[in-house]
């Protein structure tokens, strides 16, 4: 077993762990926002770990290049997707878990809710 393969195995397992944690978060967190937080992280980091790990297990230049592109894309898109869901949740009136400090959302300059 070479270093790349070892690294690959570690990364793959790490990535899987991130997913499991995200799944736990999805299961246990109390409101959509916490869940989004967990999922967006997993989407970025978990996918990155898993794909990089996978390519290390069966390395090739072409695959590596593809994975590099894919990881960057994934980090960007998963985060932006998460933000979009979060804002939509706020806009559609999803409640925060009790105890959440949401004063920042009660800004007095809130304009009228038209597009």
């Amino acid at each position: 077993m070479n270093a790349a393969e070892l690294a690959g195995q570690v990364l793959v397992l790490l990535g899987a762990a991130v997913f499991v944690v995200a799944a736990l978060g999805l299961r246990r967190f109390r409101d959509p926002y916490m869940r989004i937080s967990a999922v967006a992280t997993a989407g970025g980091l978990g996918v990155a770990c898993v794909t990089v790990g996978a390519v290390l297990l069966d390395p090739s230049v072409a695959s590596a290049a593809k994975v590099a592109v894919a990881v960057v894309l994934q980090l960007l898109t998963s985060a932006v997707g998460g933000i979009a869901i979060a804002r939509a949740a706020v806009g559609s009136g999803h409640r925060f878990a009790p105890g959440t400090d949401t004063r920042a959302l009660d800004a007095p300059d809130s304009p009228d809710g038209e597009e």
């Binding site: 967190f29 916490m34 937080s37 992280t41 980090l75 933000i83 979060a86 920042a104 959302l105 300059d109």
Partner: protein, 120 residues
């Protein structure tokens, strides 16, 4: 200026490594929470003012904040003057001040690590 261009790759790598470390650290908090109950967080929404930050800057910050376990960008608020802030949902900061400070730190490092000429 040229110097900054030359050092950009190094600064970027340093920043990314730092960020990776941050991610690992924050993960610990999340992990500790979800493995036990998922009810240990102290969630809050904080506002981080970004002054005259450009679109790329706002986006980068949003992405990084969101990728960090425990924090999540909820959206952008634009003041009448054109200055923007992001609203961030934070789960594991003790209080608003720490949260804003952490986010401010991230923002500063982001600017230092990934730009040619400071805040664009």
């Amino acid at each position: 200026m040229i110097l900054r261009a030359l050092t950009l790759p190094i600064r970027a790598v340093v920043f990314l490594l730092w960020f990776a470390g941050q991610v690992v650290l924050s993960s610990a908090a999340v992990l500790a929470d979800v493995l036990v109950s998922g009810r240990r967080s102290t969630p809050r929404v904080v506002r981080l003012d970004l002054a005259d930050a450009g679109d790329h800057h706002v986006t980068a910050l949003g992405v990084l904040v969101t990728l960090t376990p425990g924090t999540l960008v909820l959206g952008v608020v634009e003041q009448p003057g054109g200055t923007r802030s992001v609203l961030v949902h934070s789960m594991y900061h003790r209080d608003e001040t720490t949260a804003v400070a952490d986010l401010r730190d991230l923002d500063d490092r982001l600017v230092r690590g990934l730009t040619l000429g400071g805040r664009p």
